[in-house]
């Protein structure tokens, strides 16, 4: 899932302050799961903005809509319809959703209410951790399902650095995170040991070809069999 967090309210207010009729559009997939952009959060932000603008002496017409996902154009029909009555749209989707919506509303300003952060998982209630960088060449099969690209601070491919202490990554010394960041390579070692497949680590991983990652401009997937 894509994880994002709401922008500071003051920043959001500044983005939309000159528009009288606002439509807040939520997305009920990834950003609902991380409690930042679903229909509940749309309702929270709508009430919050209404109050914040009132305190600033402005009365806004703020409406709410949410769709299952904003990154699929066909799902945006409800938002497009509701946006006909708005001067601007504030999207609580991830960056992909905001852009899809903006493409469907070329004559209506569309603003992001979230900062999109990473691809990750719900590690526990209230805690989302990055675990995928979309590098385009997945090597999880070699590392027992633990990604060294995203979960090792240095994205090392052939074992740990010398900085790990007590199973923890050395970035904890500087960042003081809670919970602390484990050394991904120790986790890989432990996982492969429990699987009885530690010999996978005897395979040397060559320097990574990053051209499949985000270093080569906007990527795409084309499937002629899926096209109309």
């Amino acid at each position: 899932m894509i994880v994002g967090t709401r922008k500071p309210l003051a920043e959001i207010q500044d983005l939309v302050k000159k528009y009288d009729r606002l439509l807040l559009a939520g997305c009920d997939t990834c950003v609902a799961e991380c409690a930042s952009g679903g229909r509940r959060e749309v309702a929270e932000l709508a009430a919050a903005l209404q109050m914040a603008f009132r305190l600033a002496g402005q009365e806004k017409d703020i409406r709410e809509v949410s769709v299952d996902r904003q990154c699929v154009h066909e799902f945006l029909l409800d938002v497009v319809e509701a946006a006909q009555e708005a001067d601007a749209v504030l999207s609580l989707a991830c960056g992909a959703g905001v852009q899809a919506l903006a493409a469907r509303l070329p004559e209506t300003p569309v603003f992001p209410a979230l900062n999109t952060l990473f691809i990750g998982e719900t590690a526990q209630r209230g805690l989302w951790l990055e675990n995928c960088r979309g590098c385009g060449n997945c090597l999880l099969g070699l590392t027992g399902g633990i990604c060294p690209i995203s979960r090792c601070a240095k994205s090392l491919l052939n074992g740990p650095c010398g900085g790990a202490r007590n199973g923890l990554c050395e970035i904890n010394l500087a960042l003081k995170l809670e919970p602390e960041v484990p050394c991904a390579w120790l986790q890989i070692y432990d996982r492969l040991t429990s699987l009885g497949e530690l010999d996978r680590l005897l395979e040397f991983a060559a320097p990574k070809d990053w051209s499949t990652g985000d270093a080569s401009g906007p990527r795409r997937v084309v499937r002629p069999d899926q096209q109309a």
């Binding site: 309210l9 509940r40 309702a43 929270e44 009430a47 109050m51 009132r54 305190l55 009365e59």
Partner: protein, 140 residues
């Protein structure tokens, strides 16, 4: 003449089986009071808290059971965390976080209930009318 202050209480039915015991003294003190009974205080969501303050309430109070006594195990604990989150949101909005309060009240504890009434009255008097709520005289 000062404006009437509206207090909305969202209360767990187990914690407050007789809402009139709370609403009565508040109304006698001059507060307009609305009690919304919930099956558990965890039914109250953050957006409901904010929406209530945006539309009608000068003061919103959530009443739940003591955490160890919640019949839904975590309900009262979740409510407490949501209230804290909503209070942070209020601070961001520029509104006093104290406009949202909570009490975790054991059913039948008259002393605690009286203390809560006193606290609500004090808070309502010190904060006054909510400048961020909708103006009931303004027509849409």
């Amino acid at each position: 003449m000062s404006q009437e202050i509206t207090v909305v209480l969202m209360a767990c039915r187990q914690a407050l089986p007789e809402p009139s015991r709370l609403a009565g003294p508040l109304e006698q003190a001059g507060l307009k009071t609305r009690v919304i009974l919930e099956p558990c205080s965890s039914k109250v969501e953050v957006f409901q808290m904010l929406r209530t303050l945006a539309t009608e309430a000068d003061l919103l109070w959530v009443v739940g059971c003591p955490e160890a006594a919640c019949q839904l195990v975590e309900g009262s604990l979740r409510m407490a965390k949501r209230v804290a989150h909503a209070q942070e949101y209020l601070a961001e909005i520029g509104l006093e976080p104290e406009r949202l309060g909570k009490t975790q009240l054991a059913a039948g504890n008259q002393e605690a209930a009286a203390a809560m009434v006193h606290e609500i009255l004090e808070r309502a008097r010190s904060l006054g009318v909510n400048p961020a709520k909708a103006d009931p005289l303004k027509k849409e």
